[in-house]
Symmetry: C2
Subunit: 343 residues, 2 copies
C-alpha cells in the first residue's frame, strides 16, 4: 500500500537497502514555510485546524523527502482534552495556569470522549493521508503519562520538574490516579489515531530521565507498558525515553516495535542494553546539526556504521532546534539517502 | 590527624564500619542559619569574605555532623578570576553580561595569578580548618572546564546549553583554547587549595551529560583528566559528572580516587560500568528528600545495601534543593550513621 516502506520494514526488523530517516519535530520552526503559517495562526489554531495541521505535516516531506511523516500536533492536546487549561505562551512555552497539586485537582480531571474532544486530530490524519497519497507512512504520537503529569503538576517547563516529583513522592495515590486517567485517555486517543489512518505510533517520554530507575518503573514505565499492550496489535509502537538508557532492557521486552534513544547512549551501549535484537531509532545530537554540512554527513555515516543498517531508523536524539540552517537539515537527510553499507 | 577519617578511608578503598556521608550543597538554602547570612550579605560577599565562607562551611557540620565539610564557594569564582564578569541574580541564578562567542572573546580571557585573584579562598580554607579543629576532613572543589565554558558562552543557566555547544561545534579551535585556559587556571587553583589545607578535591561536571560520548571525550573529559593528572599526587580527586554514566569506565582508569554518580545510574550499573573496584559516591535523588523521613531512611539503607558499605561514600546524586525540610535532611544523615551491614 505505502510506496516507500523502508520505515515499516525497519519496524518489522526486515532487511533494507538503507535505513529509513525522519527527524523528531521535523515539521517545525527551522522551516520558513512553517514560520509563514506560525505568523498567521496561533499554536492551538494550527493544531486544531485540520487544513493547517495536515499542511504543516507534509511541508518537510515536500522539501526533504523523509521516509516517514509525523502528524503535526502537541503532546499537550491530551491534558487540554482532559479539562486542564493549557496555554502556549510565545517565547516561554507551555503554561498551565491551574496546575494540579492535590487529590481535589486530580478529581476534577476527566477521561474525555475522544471523538468529541480530539476529533480534529482524526480529521487532520485523514486530510494528511490524502495529501501524502501513500508515498510515505504517517506516524501518530502521544506523550508518556509521566511526561504529561510533569506539565500538569509543574505548570510549565522545568529543569528538574521538582514540583511534579514532589507530588509523586508525597502524594503517590493522587499521582497514580492521575497517571491512570492520562493512560486511559492516551490509549483511546492512539487507538482512534490508528483507526483514522496512522501507520505507527510513538510515545514520547521526554522527562523519564528525571527519575531514578526504581521511580521510573513506578511512575512512568508501567503506564507506557499499558499503552504498548493496548496498541501493539493495532500498529507498531515506538517508545522513546530521553535519558532512559537504564530502562532499555525492560523496554526491549515490552512488545514495542522500536526504541528511541538519545545521543548520550552510543550505538554500542544502546544495542547492548536493549539486548541486540530490537529496532533502534536515533540518536544524532540535535545541536550537532549546527556543524558544517560536510561534518554532519561524515557523522551520520559513522552513526549508521555503528548502529548497522538493519533494525535501525535514523533520527535525531531529540527534536530539531529552531535555529538549524535549512542546508544542514538537508545534509542530514541526504547523508542517509547516499549511505552505502561498508563491505 | 583528622579524628573522623571515614571519608578519607573510603577514598583509599579501606574497610570501614559504615560508609561516610556528606551532601552536595550541604551548606545551602535549606538551612535557616544560612538564610540568615544570605539576607545580610550578597552572594559574592559571602564567597569572598573568609569569616562568612568558613562560617557557612561549618554550619551543616554543627547541625548534622556529616563526615566531611565542603568549602562554601561557587564554581564561577574561576571565570570571575579570569576576567569574565559574573553576576548572581536573585531568583535567576548566574548571569554573565558579556558571554564569550568568538576567538576575540577567548583572547581577552586571562589565566590569572591565583593568590592575587583567589587568595580569599585560601584564607577561607585556613579559617575553616581552624573551626573544624581536625574533627572532619575538608573538601575543596572546582567546576569542570566544560561546565565553566557552558556558563561563559551561554551567559546563564540553560536546559540544553545550545549556545555553548554551538560554539564548540562551529568554532572548535576557539573552544579548545578557552577550555585549556580554564584547565590551567583550575589546576593552579586546586593546587593552591590543597596547599592551604583541603584534604580532597572534587571536580563537578554538572553539564557533561549534555554531550554525546564522543563529544564528551573531546570537550570535557580530556581536560578533567589533565586536572586529575596534576592533582592526584597531592590529594585524592573525586570526579563527578552528572549524566555521564557512559564515561564511567574511562573515569575509573583516570587516577581519580572516587567517582560521583547521579540517581539515574543504579548501584549495580555504576559498579558494573566503573569496573567494580573504584570508590563510588552518590546517588540519592535530591527530590526524594521530600519523601517522609521514614521512607528516606528505608531508601538510604537499601542504597547502602546495593552499593555495599566499602568503597562507597553516601551522598545525593546532585545538590540538595532549597525547600527540603530540616528533618528530612537530618533523616538522610542519621540513616547512614544508624546503618548496620546485613549479615
Amino acid at each position: 500500500m505505502i510506496k516507500n516502506d523502508l520505515f515499516l520494514k525497519a519496524l518489522k526488523g526486515e532487511t533494507v537497502s538503507r535505513p529509513p530517516v525522519w527527524m523528531m519535530r521535523q515539521a517545525g520552526r527551522y522551516l520558513p514555510e512553517f514560520m509563514e503559517l506560525k505568523e498567521k495562526y496561533d499554536f492551538f489554531t494550527r493544531c486544531q485546524t485540520p487544513e493547517l495541521a495536515s499542511e504543516i505535516t507534509v511541508q518537510p516531506i515536500r522539501r526533504y523527502g523523509m521516509d516517514a511523516a509525523i502528524l503535526f500536533s502537541d503532546i499537550l492536546v491530551i491534558p487540554q482534552a482532559m479539562n486542564i487549561e493549557v496555554e502556549m505562551k510565545p517565547n516561554f512555552g507551555p503554561f498551565l495556569p491551574h496546575p494540579i497539586r492535590d487529590q481535589k485537582g486530580v478529581d476534577q480531571v476527566i477521561v474525555p470522549d475522544i471523538q468529541e474532544s480530539l476529533g480534529y486530530v482524526m480529521e487532520a490524519i485523514k486530510m494528511t493521508k490524502e495529501k501524502l497519497n501513500d508515498e510515505v507512512p504517517l506516524i501518530g504520537f502521544a506523550g508518556s503519562p509521566w511526561t504529561i503529569l510533569c506539565y500538569c503538576v509543574q505548570g510549565q517547563g522545568s529543569k528538574n520538574f521538582d514540583k511534579a516529583k514532589e507530588f509523586c513522592f508525597t502524594q503517590p495515590i493522587a499521582a497514580h490516579t492521575l497517571l491512570q486517567k492520562i493512560t486511559d485517555t492516551t490509549i483511546a486517543y492512539l487507538k482512534a489515531k490508528v483507526a483514522a489512518g496512522v501507520n505507527a505510533v510513538q510515545v514520547f517520554d521526554s522527562w523519564g530521565g528525571m527519575l531514578s530507575p526504581t521511580d521510573y518503573q513506578e511512575f512512568s514505565w508501567q503506564y507506557i507498558q499499558q499503552i504498548i499492550d493496548a496498541l501493539k496489535e493495532e500498529a507498531p509502537v515506538i517508545a522513546f525515553g530521553k535519558g532512559c538508557w537504564f530502562a532499555l532492557r525492560e523496554m526491549s521486552q515490552s512488545g514495542a516495535a522500536a526504541l528511541g534513544v538519545d545521543w548520550t547512549c552510543s550505538a554500542q551501549n544502546a544495542r547492548y542494553l536493549s539486548g541486540g535484537k530490537i529496532t533502534l531509532q536515533g540518536n544524532f545530537d540535535p545541536t550537532r546539526l549546527l556543524s558544517p554540512p560536510k561534518t554532519i554527513k561524515r557523522m551520520v555515516h559513522e552513526m549508521i556504521d555503528t548502529f548497522g543498517k538493519d533494525r535501525y531508523i535514523v533520527n535525531l536524539g531529540h527534536g530539531i532546534l529552531p535555529h538549524i540552517p535549512l542546508e544542514n537539515a538537508g545534509a542530514f537527510i541526504e547523508a542517509v539517502k547516499e549511505y552505502k553499507p561498508r563491505d
